[in-house]
Subunit: 456 residues, 2 copies
């Protein structure tokens, strides 16, 4: 039995000049990634051309542009002409001038036109991840003709399992048929006889690439057609591009949720300065907004001096608010991302979070009061003559803060989405800051009411 | 152009007794999900049998078990016999007794045996998401024979695009061939002539289902074979199951990262009590460990009374430690999940995080010192006669805490993984608690050194 980590182990042990040509392309990519670009370029050249194209075709190859820059121009052009056009467009996107223009001009005119068209689609759009290497046939063909055509073009198409049937005159997409149905049907019948009863699913090239991912995952498709306004098929998004997209987006979401800009490269490859930039920006922004807590504390300076005992619970109370907020946020971000909820459902969520927050706050409040009572009674610590009132203050403040945290945490993703931001972008740190500042106000507000005339 | 949200809108408007039978299965699922189980069961029965099976086959159908319980036994048995066996196993997993045994015994013996075998695989294993409805042929067949066989069985197989070739005597898996190569090859040649040069990728049924997902995504496969020890093929994991798995796991990760147990159901469907349980457990655990901050504060009570000005910056300093820790954690969880890093790389990470943490801490420290200086100089607030020393204390404490946060945040995922836990399980809240308590100790430690003889 062979699995990927064993294969990786094997490659790591293999010498770079070893029998690379006999490895699978993903393992070769891993071996190249361990080398400097110049060495990787040398190794790539030593491979049979077909294998080298297969390797370059994989998005996992690091430093692709540096490697291409190290190759003789002829080799670079030959390899780039060989890879699938969506991958070639991705590579050209990263290439720097003047190499980019030099190489683009050396491609044959058809390929150049296709790649230029792909390059024009906005980042993260369905158009940017589509391939133009699909099978399309006119609706007037018989199944036998279609099968014959597939046998001819099979080697140059990313998938031949979805066949797109177009109007013979207007060239608009009318159906999608699957190869499995074609080979089981009567070869003399028209191709449309193997088509399902409904129109095929389509997406516009400007649509978000996650929309393509959702269609493919919802309808268990192998590919979805990308069509322009009048209905001409421009390309297809295939299931393997969709998997890459889903993994990439969830990595970015996780990093944004952790309060930083998404890294474009693996952890160990990113430069020190890049790392500081990606993390420092957010950290500073959060630090600046958290400074509001210092301002809030300053306004309560009198209360603090009179009742120093209150300061003991500030970290505890603040973190509880932050935790309940980040729970609610992470829950709602996912529910929105999975389309379980729509924007107009915000009030249903608010109506759920209000009692949930009160209940959770009450649970923590009871624990907090119990803690103070036990410590006081057993003599671990002396919270002063009014310790019962301090305990009640802590308990009440917890209810208020956890409720506020749950509400703020659940509503912020809706607000971000409403004003056109990705709800995942740093909702959690936002919520934490908001809840920290508000938490202090709630705490001292509750204290002012309960301790008025005794401690305050 | 048709996209999923429009389709959903359309369904939401359609009356439940409308033309449901003409909708696509995913849209029918959505319509059923909006109903009580009894009504959903009634609607399911009103569909043509083939459509009802298609609907039941989709994992997105809510309350499947309640719906099945509402169906007449004959209908339930007929539908369960029709759905793919991996989905049937999932449904049986959730069914409650005695219905489960009743229905299982009514299935035909072959189906029952298959489903019982699938039920025996551990949750989250490759075996638990595999299907047994694949095409396998002996290596002695010609391509024409294989194609004829595929035409016969096509309707009953989840995919016919990967064909698994087994040894005619030992029945062990020897190759996987793709339908696209088969239809382009000479029909009179042996099936192995269309096979690639290498052995097929395989996985054991006990392997983690994410391992299957990684193989499929790494090698751009449509299906991967699941084989037992001696090499017999037990089933296959297909690309659409892998997409569902990836989405499910990243949802769980996001929820765990947000500090709660993963929900099994959509947000609006989960009961109030279930919600309190899933969120309250973690919230209480975090609350109890955050109580250490109160204990830490208590030990510094003398310092607090002497230098009340120090309390003003506690929330700011603590949150900076927490933010830097959660950045590092989210970064490392993903890097480990994507296999960019292995356990033994921990020291490389530590060597990167140490200077990163110091640099980030220094940046925040400078901002913090500037803030205090500006407020003091412009007269916004009076930090007392020793304000310069207070500013230096805050700056130094920030360097210490951000460095500790980055180190602790980056090492904890390694520790969790090493001791056999999922690094994603609540690393972030763990780190926050650890960093909060340590942060207080660092802050008061730095203060004790710098302010000794003046404020303290």
């Amino acid at each position: 039995m062979q699995n990927s980590s064993e294969a990786v182990e094997r490659m790591t042990r293999a010498s770079p000049n070893g029998d690379l040509a006999h490895e699978r392309a993903p393992e070769i990519v891993e071996a190249l990634n361990a080398q400097e670009p110049a060495d990787a370029a040398r190794m790539l050249r030593s491979l049979p051309a077909e294998k080298a194209v297969e390797v370059l075709d994989l998005p996992g190859l690091d430093n692709t542009c540096e490697i291409i820059a190290e190759l003789p121009t002829d080799t670079a052009v030959a390899l780039l002409s060989g890879v699938s056009d969506d991958r070639a467009a991705d590579i050209f996107k990263e290439l720097i001038e003047p190499l980019r223009t030099t190489l683009l001009n050396r491609l044959n005119p058809d390929t150049r036109a296709t790649i230029s068209a792909l390059l024009a689609y906005p980042e993260r759009s369905a158009g940017s991840i589509m391939t133009t290497e699909f099978v399309s046939v006119p609706s007037t063909w018989t199944i036998a003709e279609v099968l014959h055509h597939i046998r001819m073009v099979e080697r140059t198409r990313e998938t031949v399992y979805s066949i797109f049937v177009v109007d013979p005159i207007k060239k608009t997409l009318i159906q999608a048929v699957s190869l499995r149905r074609l080979i089981s049907a009567d070869p003399h019948a028209g191709v449309l006889s193997a088509a399902p009863a409904r129109r095929p699913l389509m997406i516009s090239p400007e649509a978000d690439r996650m929309e393509a991912a959702r269609l493919i995952s919802r309808y268990d498709l192998l590919a979805v057609a990308v069509v322009d306004g009048p209905g001409h098929i421009l390309g297809i998004v295939t299931v393997d591009d969709v998997i890459d997209t889903i993994v990439e987006e969830s990595t970015e979401d996780a990093q944004k949720f952790g309060g930083m800009e998404a890294l474009d490269e693996p952890y160990l490859r990113i430069s020190f300065l890049e790392m500081i930039k990606k993390r420092g920006g957010w950290l500073c922004a959060l630090f600046l907004s958290e400074m509001l807590t210092a301002s809030a504390m300053q306004t309560f300076q009198n209360e603090l001096e009179k009742a120093i005992v209150l300061t003991l619970f500030i970290p505890l109370i603040m973190s509880s608010g932050g935790n309940s907020g980040s729970q609610a946020t992470s829950l709602l971000i996912r529910a929105l991302a999975l389309h379980e909820l729509r924007l107009r459902d915000w009030w249903r969520v608010a109506l759920r979070e209000l009692p949930t927050g009160i209940a959770l706050g009450a649970i923590l409040g009871v624990i907090g009061i119990a803690r103070i009572t036990v410590w006081q009674t057993l003599g671990f610590f002396d919270y002063g003559p009014h310790w019962e009132l301090v305990a009640v203050t802590v308990g009440m403040a917890l209810i208020g803060i956890v409720t506020f945290g749950s509400l703020a945490g659940s509503m912020l993703p809706f607000v971000l989405k409403r004003i056109g931001f990705d709800p995942a972008s740093a909702s959690a740190p936002f919520v934490a800051t908001l809840v920290d500042v508000t938490g202090l106000v709630i705490y001292f507000g509750v204290a002012a009411v309960i301790l008025r005339g005794t401690l305050l």
